[in-house]
Symmetry: C2
């Protein structure tokens, strides 16, 4: 299985659609690392071009990797070990290409259906065939139009039985990983 | 659809299995309210017996319900409107019983499979038949043994393709709601 996740802090859009850079948050690192580790993600790329933000993220990860956190909570150390902090999506893709020996299929997530939306079944098949895949998640109000244009495809939007779909990026990433990588026997389960 | 969620801050267990009360956190309120609202949850019960914690939770919710937050982000106002803060699980169950005119089936979540684990299919069928259901999620290291004994059943543990399964309660709640309430057509989708 060759699946990576990237959490993008730039370029993303704000409430009124302007391209911005967002701040790294502690729980985005923890929650998505823990879900990533649970579902077999190889690398969780944290993308921010801002030096101070890179340092903040590195400090948080360091606390749980080498600091006091590593001693008190080895599970958290384990989860955060998949994080790599990089300045741009391009840099993450280049490094993933080296890691896998092949450029990953880069898939964006979006709360609205796009013309290049792939089905979950198609993406699961790709993952099953050991094709490398990188899933991009946008912070703030989502990935910028530039990113949406450079990707190889888009995941279907998550939707419940209501018209409301304002999930946090932590929830969206967790659900996407479960849909793409959750064990089938978890789903089928004994009918006793 | 008659589905409620309860986030339990007491009684839960700590790292070494002692029963404790945990602190309310801002993002547990937001993330689970947003996922709950997306998936059609009627009430998100935030359970804590501690007065100061109840007040803290009420302040956070109030900011987004009536304060500045309500003006700048009506979607967040909408999401947080499903929150009710109560002192105990029993109090939440009693009030849900009044709301639905029938006692809900109370289901715990647990990272380990229990003898009274129900299948996702069985719970989906119950929800489809308009039977009221309350899903209990534990903060800290999970629901206390007392809670596990008083419930009507337990949800299957979430498991990815790895032995690691240390999801945050925010991730676990989001994934459980998607598994139980995600729209089937989201899943089946066009094969084109």
């Amino acid at each position: 299985m060759k699946v990576d996740v990237a959490l993008v802090h730039h370029p993303v859009v704000n409430r009124i659609g302007e391209t911005i850079g967002s701040a790294v948050t502690n729980l985005d690192l923890h929650d998505i690392a823990r879900a990533g580790r649970t579902y077999g993600v190889n690398t969780y790329w944290v993308v921010t071009p801002f030096k101070e933000q890179q340092e903040l993220a590195a400090q948080i990860v360091g606390h749980w990797q080498n600091g006091h956190g590593a001693t008190v909570n080895p599970d958290r150390q384990n989860a955060l070990s998949i994080i790599r902090i990089r300045a741009s999506i391009e840099e993450a893709i280049a490094e993933a290409t080296t890691n896998y020996g092949e450029r990953p299929c880069v898939l964006a997530t979006c709360a609205k259906r796009q013309s290049n939306t792939r089905s979950f079944a198609a993406i699961r098949a790709m993952i099953g065939a050991e094709k490398p895949v990188m899933l991009l998640f946008g912070t703030a109000w989502g990935l910028s139009p530039d990113v949406m244009e450079m990707v190889d495809g888009v995941l279907p939007p998550l939707q419940g039985p209501t018209p409301f779909n304002h999930l946090s990026v932590r929830s969206a990433a967790s659900i996407m990983l479960d849909r793409l990588l959750g064990r089938p026997d978890d789903w089928e389960e004994e009918q006793n």
